[in-house]
Symmetry: C2
Subunit: 154 residues, 2 copies
């Protein structure tokens, strides 16, 4: 999967993609390996090339809420690397042996600093995705709320 | 409250603020009046100058989930005007007689199209806010989830 398949890089030029590819490196991960934990400093943005990665909220030691599974066809992860306070907002673990491309936060910052058009495109794509995720998460709250209302009513 | 107090316009210059002020107009709303409904085309971004506006999810005719109250000191509303598909993602109603400043989506698009730096700053501020809201909403899901686990366990 090329980097251009990541929603963050939609609408950016081939030369911009090449500059991002130049600050990226491919990494191998094993099934069950953690990529990052919620709250950790976000130093990389990741794209799944092969395999799959699960995003979870850890509730207690043995309890996790699954939030999403990222595969080569549906996006990237670690967007905390793009937004203050630059920390991961979920924990990520490989569901199988996986190949990921890691983009350095520091070097992507430098690229965006030198190219307003690139910065703009990435932030606009990110805002759209975050608003979509917010709507989905609100739907979950709505379902829980309805269940609560029903359990009180009946 | 000046427009510059809105989180979206943090870090932008005085002349950029003045250009946004020039495409804005003050409007009076009465207590109980709806500003917009979830799903409607988002034509304006609003800032509360005086009074307060409640953001809600409508669940059924008589059931609403309160999501936030926007006052002069804590932000703006209607950010669906900044992100595709340009629809409001919540419903908004005045909690009291209120004075709002409405910024035209079409004209703000024109300003951002001509000024990448402005576009960049607004989108970066928006992404930060949306990630914060997403984290808060996930916390709610976490609480509901924990309650569910407890109700099954005990």
């Amino acid at each position: 999967m090329p980097l251009s398949s990541c929603y963050l890089f939609q609408g950016i030029s081939q030369s911009q993609i090449e500059r991002i590819a130049a600050i990226s490196r491919e990494q191998q991960y094993q099934m069950g390996q953690w990529l990052f934990q919620e709250g950790q400093e976000a130093r990389h943005l990741y794209q799944v090339q092969e395999g799959s990665v699960e995003l979870v909220i850890k509730v207690e030691e043995a309890i996790e809420i699954p939030m999403a599974v990222i595969r080569p066809d549906n996006g990237c992860l670690g967007v905390g690397a793009l937004v203050e306070p630059y920390r991961y907002s979920l924990s990520a673990r490989c569901l199988e042996d996986s190949t990921l491309v890691a983009v350095s936060k520091t070097r992507l910052d430098e690229l965006m600093h030198d190219d307003f058009e690139l910065h703009c495109a990435i932030m606009t794509n990110l805002a759209k995705k975050l608003l979509d995720r917010l709507k989905e998460t609100r739907q979950e709250v709505k379902i829980h709320f309805m269940n609560l209302v029903r359990s009180i009513t009946f």
